[in-house]
Every structure is written in structure tokens, then in C-alpha cells.
Amino acid sequence: AGRSGDGGGALRPLYMDVQATTPLDPRVLDSMLPYLTAYYGNPHSRTHAYGWESEAAMEKARRQVADLIGADSREIIFTSGATESNNMAIKGVARFYKSRKKHIITTQTEHKCVLDSCRSLETEGFRVTYLPVKKNGLIDLKELEVAFQPDTSLVSVMTVNNEIGVKQPIHDIGEICRARKVFFHTDAAQAIGKIPMDVNNMKIDLMSISGHKIYGPKGVGAIYVRRRPRVRLEPLQSGGGQERGLRSGTVPTPLAVGLGVACEVAQQEMEYDHKRISKLAERLVTKIMSEVPDVVMNGDREHRYPGCINLSFAYVEGESLLMALKDVALSSGSACTSASLEPSYVLRAIGTDEDLAHSSIRFGIGRFTTEEEVDYTVQKCIQHVKRLREMSPLWEMVQDGIDLKSIKWTQH
């Protein structure tokens, strides 16, 4: 961490918010630079060497993305990111099959772009079932089974949740959908490159991929669209028919190259990263929970990705803890909801009481997080939680043995 960008000369905070975005892996940057400086051709130019070399780089990147998920490279379409991929998958599939199928199933804990795409389809006359989740954040497979209707066209369930890190039973969901011949889409933005994914094994028909969650560049992602059996979707973006007609527009070669290398590096580093991150996560959670009482981990303890830890510190207001931890870049929910005053709908869906939902912090541990960073974060966190609790009248009442739930708070 160098000096801060505002020229003030102060040290920059530690970065512990990898679910929001990740830094570029240096190997990714190295691979992109030539395509930003020298090899700047349009990959769709068929008549000269600039085009051919750019196309070759784009196709190599396509193969690298495909290899990470066990797909054929013709099944990978480059997009501007997982938000676009989610929009394409949900709106595209729904609209293509709309003459016979009008129903979609998703969950209450999906990313906002999935939920908003579903809401916009509802205004077009589609019906959407938003499956609830259990207290541990996982969906109930039996509830999924009964949610199917004769005209269901798509099921969309994210692999790893960006707020609480829980890992849904993708394998089982894939089986259930395949048996009913309903397409299965998963938003794998937080999962690929971190846990093994195989689209055939897991019977996935559509998958959304994000570049900047796996140490790749921002502004690029991909969507996997199965060829056998063929999944059709109505394109969102019309134009010259690039990317199999599904996503017109010049593919940004430097970004695609970056995404490809990010995927290849992730495939190589996956096992090592997972082991190291699991150890660091265990260290963080154990240290905090052993020093500080009344801390709740949100989401299932086992079925999760270790690098995303969401803790609720009872009797402490989340924003004040974040402000206190000013040397550490953290978040209290997801980046896309932090501007709105809405408390996290993911925490509400897992049954967290409203006061605990306001007390939650998400710790992100990534490829470049060091043990010292974790230890510093833990030390500051413990220090400030204790300090804020000293000031808290609620904490005082609890220490005196009062049951807070029995209190009738008066309205002002």
C-alpha cells in the first residue's frame, strides 16, 4: 500500500474488501499491455494482420475461460461484466421462450442485477418465484422441487453469495433442473477461479462470469451458453452479429486477454489460494470470536467460500465500526447496496434481526492478503468493538441481565 491518491501523503488502508473488487494480478496486467499499445487491431477485421492477431488473442482468451469451467470455447461469449451476463441470461432466455413458458424461479438472496432483471420481466407479464432461504443461507431443495410449474423456463441460483459467502448446492440443483428439462443459470462471479466449477458435471446451462472478481480487469466478463442441448436467448444488444449474434459489439481485445489470463492463473493457483485463504479465514474468525462475545457469523459454517466472512457484532452499529476501522477497507454489505439506505436483503432473508443486520461487517480475504493484514484487522476490530460497546446503553442493559426483547420502546 503506497501513499493515498488524493496527494495527501497519508498511508492507504489495508484492502479487505475483495468481494467488491480485486486488484489486477501482475501477470494479467503484463498480458494486457501489448494489446493496449501495439496490437490494437479490431478482432473482427478479417482482412489484415492487425485483425488476425487480435482475433487470435481473443480466441485464446475464450479458450482459457472455457477451460476453467469445463466448457467448449464456442460456448463462451464476452460481455461487459457479470451484470450484463445476468441480464442476458434471465431476460434473454425468458423472452425467447415466452410463447410457451412464462415462469422463472430464483432466490431471495441473488445479486441485485438478477432480482431487478426478474422484476422487469414481471412488468412484461412473466411470473417469478423468489425462493426463500434457510437460516444458514442455503435454499431448501424440496421447496425448489415444488416451485416448478409446467411453464417454467429458467432457474437462476448464484453459486457463491457475495455478501455472506455461502455456497449453494449447485450439483443438486443442476440435477433437479435437468430432470425437468428446465434451463439452469448460475451467477458464478464470486465462485469461478476460487472453487472448481464444471458445467457438465454440475449440469449448468448458463453461467455468468466477472473479470474483476478474479484479479482480472474491470469492464469485462463472460457468459457461458450451452450448445448441447442448445440454449437460445434473445439478444439484449443488437448490431453486427458478433459473439454468435448474442452480443453485438467489438470485443475489447485487451480486456478479453486480461480475463483469459486471469482465468488461467486462477486455475493454476486455485488449490494453493484456497488452502491459504482458508487458514487466514480460520485465524480471523477464531481470534475475533475468542476475544469478543456475542458475535454471529452469517451463513452456513461449512457450505461456504472461506474468503468471504460476514460477522454481526451485537450492540455495535456497523457503520460506526467501519468508520472506526479507518485503516482497513471493509464493507457492511455489498457495494451495490451501500449507497441505498436499505439494510441488506440478504441478511433479512436469512432471518437476521434488524438490529444485527445493521451491525454486520464483511471481511474479504484474497490472493494477496497477508497474515499481518489479517492480524492487524483482527486487533483493531477487537479494540473498537470493545470501545463501542463501552459506550453502548444496550450493552450496559444486557450486562445487567435485561432481556432486550422484553422492552417496549416508545415512539418519539
Binding site: R74, F96, Y97, S99, R100, R227, R230, R232, E234, S238, G241, R244, G245, L246
Partner: protein
Amino acid sequence: MAASMAAASGGSVTRRLLRGAARGLSGGGGGGGGGAAAEEPEGAVVNVVFVDRTGRHVPVRGRVGDNVLHLAQRHGLELEGACEASLACSTCHVYVSTPHLDRLPAPDEREEDLLDQAPQLQENSRLGCQIVLGPELEGAHFTLPRVTRNFYVDGHVPKPH
């Protein structure tokens, strides 16, 4: 074309002779894309209906073995077929009526890839040049989509290739 004009004006003997000659030229019973004119065949008729871009229904008497793209072109329908039925474009894209859709053999992967590129794709889309008429397609409706991948927004209509 000359053969069909002669057949229209001549008697039945002339017609049968011409038909025999035509069949000889195109090497046996119906030929997909051969020079044979759209005459009344013997017992191998498949009646289909083309629906053009304006919604006009054009009934056509095809024969078993006819290629739908060439049949459409012979009857003046605006199905471009830019690659001349070599599975390299999507301009012969048609919508096939149900239940005839399911009676067609499953599309080749290359046809599926080209269909992906056709605008306004629907579940009942197929490439016309890959559909060969058989008795099971009696009564089938082939509807032309409003646009193809080639942009003729100025109203230009390409001549059949």
C-alpha cells in the same frame, strides 16, 4: 423456364415427354435445385404454403425431394439464399408450422450455429435450404421472417443467386 411454357401451351403428350426429359436431365425423380420447372408431378405432390413478409399466403405444389429454399425462389418468394444452400449463411431462415416442425430431422450443429446468427429467431426456426419435402410435410406453412442478417433497410430485394 422454356420447358414450363411449352408444357403449359402443349398437350398432355408433350407434357409427359418434357417431364421425362427433365427428369432425365436432373437424374431421377425430383431434384433439389435442378432445372425442373414447377409442374404437376405424378403422385408425389406435397402441398405447402409460403407466407411472405407481408403476410400473403402463397400455396405451392412441391414434390417429394424438393429443397424448400429453391422451391420458394422458383415461386418468386424473397428468400435470398446468399450462400446457395451451402450452409454458410442464415438468409434462408424460415419459421416452420407446428406440428410439421417436429417431423423434420434434427438440425446439424452447423445449422444450429447459423440459426444463432439469424435475427428474430424463434423456437420454430429452421434454415430453408436444409428442409427437404416429404409426404409428412403436407400442409406445412413456411413463414418468412421480417428481416434477415443482410440489411436491406432501403428496401432493396436481392435477386436469387
